[in-house]
């Protein structure tokens, strides 16, 4: 068994129009920039995939990564908790123009819905959002006299994930707080595509230190020295290169 794929382009080749795609990361940390850019390359060449539903904590920053995916017009709907950033113009303009749909979810509920999708839990109760407009239309129940909102699992067709080290079986570690949503999204997608700074043979990661066991991972592609969204943005980068922001 070897889950290694040769390139980001090959890894994202199977993502179809209208797919639900979870993209790991919190802001730029843990964002799989190279996988996202490979997906944009495919769209620029072929016109597909489009009308994607994307799940991410945020809505992109500047003109690279998720922001670029939105900017080129591939995203129909975004499910996120915090669509603001240092430079949120791409999403903001599309949203105010009615060109992109937004499902706003409290951050912890977003994380738990994704985990529930991965864990086979179709619904759960949370105190979060009770009595607010984000709970409108959702069932409410009391337990021990306290009100809770019922939330549904969230699953995806694909997850794009950034790891630190992967082995060829798909066991993963992450770098510092780049962990964030990545391990959860690995669990909740039918196909989980991982970019890792380094791919090692089985046994190359201590079994005690595996954060995501390989059972949750479909494909791994090595991307040494991956880009950091924050650094790209500080350098004024735009993707695809040569396009104007």
């Amino acid at each position: 068994m070897d889950k290694t794929i040769a390139s980001p382009a090959e890894a994202v080749a199977g993502i179809a129009d209208r797919a639900v795609v979870m993209i790991g990361g919190f802001g730029g940390s843990g964002a799989p920039i190279e996988l996202i850019h490979a997906l944009i390359d495919r769209y620029v060449k072929t016109g597909s995939p489009k009308n994607l539903t994307v799940v991410n904590n945020n809505a992109g920053n500047g003109h690279v990564g998720l922001a670029a995916l939105i900017e080129v017009g591939m995203v129909r709907k975004l499910i996120c908790s915090f669509p603001r950033s240092a430079d949120p113009r791409v999403f903001t303009e599309k949203y105010l123009a009615g060109e992109i749909e937004l499902e706003l979810v409290p951050q912890g509920t977003l994380a738990e819905r994704i985990r529930a999708g991965g864990a086979g839990i179709p619904a759960f109760y949370t105190p979060t959002s009770y009595g607010t407009e984000l709970a409108e239309g959702k069932p409410v129940a009391e337990f021990e006299g306290r009100p809770y909102v019922r939330e549904r699992w969230l699953k995806a067709d694909f997850a794009l994930v950034k790891a630190h080290v992967a082995d060829t079986h798909g066991n993963l570690t992450y770098n510092k707080a780049a962990r964030n949503f990545n391990p959860l999204m690995c669990m909740a997608a039918r196909t989980t595509i991982v970019q890792a700074s380094r791919i090692v043979p089985p046994g190359g990661i201590d079994p005690e230190h595996v954060v995501t066991p390989g059972i949750f991972v479909s494909q791994v592609v090595e991307v040494p020295d991956p880009a950091q969204e924050e650094e790209l943005n500080r350098a004024g980068a735009v993707y695809p290169e040569g396009t104007s922001p």
């Binding site: 669990m187 595996v210 059972i215």
Partner: protein, 232 residues
């Protein structure tokens, strides 16, 4: 069941090892597999050459291997049956909630379990023989509603000669409509549209003989091939 049939049964039936061997032939390369405690654990020994399945144990290991030599056990490194195991390269540890996220979340390709009874609608009874004694369930009820494919390994009949494949289970259920394939000591049977569909049977038993040892109709739908298993 009359005594003659039961005697004949003992002569021709597959051993547990042979049933496990047959089940092992259906496990794809790279499959994630959970084997029930006891007899189903034997399936791991019979992986076809060139195929590499990865075994999951509910207590929190992926890709564990054989038992260590006696005296070299690490009692923090055990499987769901509390037997000492070893690790293969690429193994991982995780806690019970993550372990059952793998199970319940549909991440296992196949779970292979023992059975007291299986019904033609896929109901399984394998955790309780009813009122007396101490009930114990473990992970069975999670596995039957989690794995992509739930297969059963079983003797075709009980020691008393009674059928274990039935129209309806009479023992307490483990899960409803969950089993899709049964490997017995006499046959391989799929469950499709709430019917037992016969796929393979031992050459030594007639279709009528097999039906007489089965508590519900055996449907023929497509080819029935010989169940050929090596001596083990």
């Amino acid at each position: 069941m009359n005594a003659i049939k039961s005697a004949n049964y003992e002569d021709i039936k597959l051993s547990n090892a042979q049933i496990a061997w047959r089940a092992a032939q259906d496990i794809a390369d790279g499959a994630y597999v959970n084997l029930g405690i006891g007899f189903p654990e034997m399936v791991a020994r019979y992986q076809p050459p060139g195929r590499e399945a990865i075994f999951h144990t509910e207590n929190g290991i992926l890709d564990f291997g054989e038992a260590p030599p006696a005296g070299e056990e690490d009692w923090d490194l055990i499987n769901a049956g509390k037997k000492a195991v070893t690790l293969n390269p690429g193994a991982a540890f995780f806690h019970h909630a993550d372990s059952f996220a793998m199970v319940r979340g549909g991440h296992l390709d196949v779970a292979i379990l023992g059975a007291y009874q299986v019904a033609q609608n896929g109901d399984l009874a394998n955790w309780s023989v009813g009122a007396k004694g101490v009930p114990a369930v473990g992970g069975a009820m999670d596995l039957v509603h989690g794995a992509k494919r739930v297969a059963v390994l079983t003797e075709h009949i009980t020691r008393k000669g009674e059928p274990k494949l039935l129209e309806r289970c009479t023992l307490p259920l483990t899960g409803v409509g969950c089993v899709t394939r049964i490997y017995t000591s006499l046959a391989v049977i799929d469950i499709e549209n709430a019917r037992f569909v016969l796929r393979e049977k031992l050459p030594a038993i007639s279709l009528e003989g097999l039906q007489s040892l089965t508590g519900a109709e055996l449907v023929i739908d497509g080819l029935v091939t010989d169940l050929n298993v090596p001596e083990l």
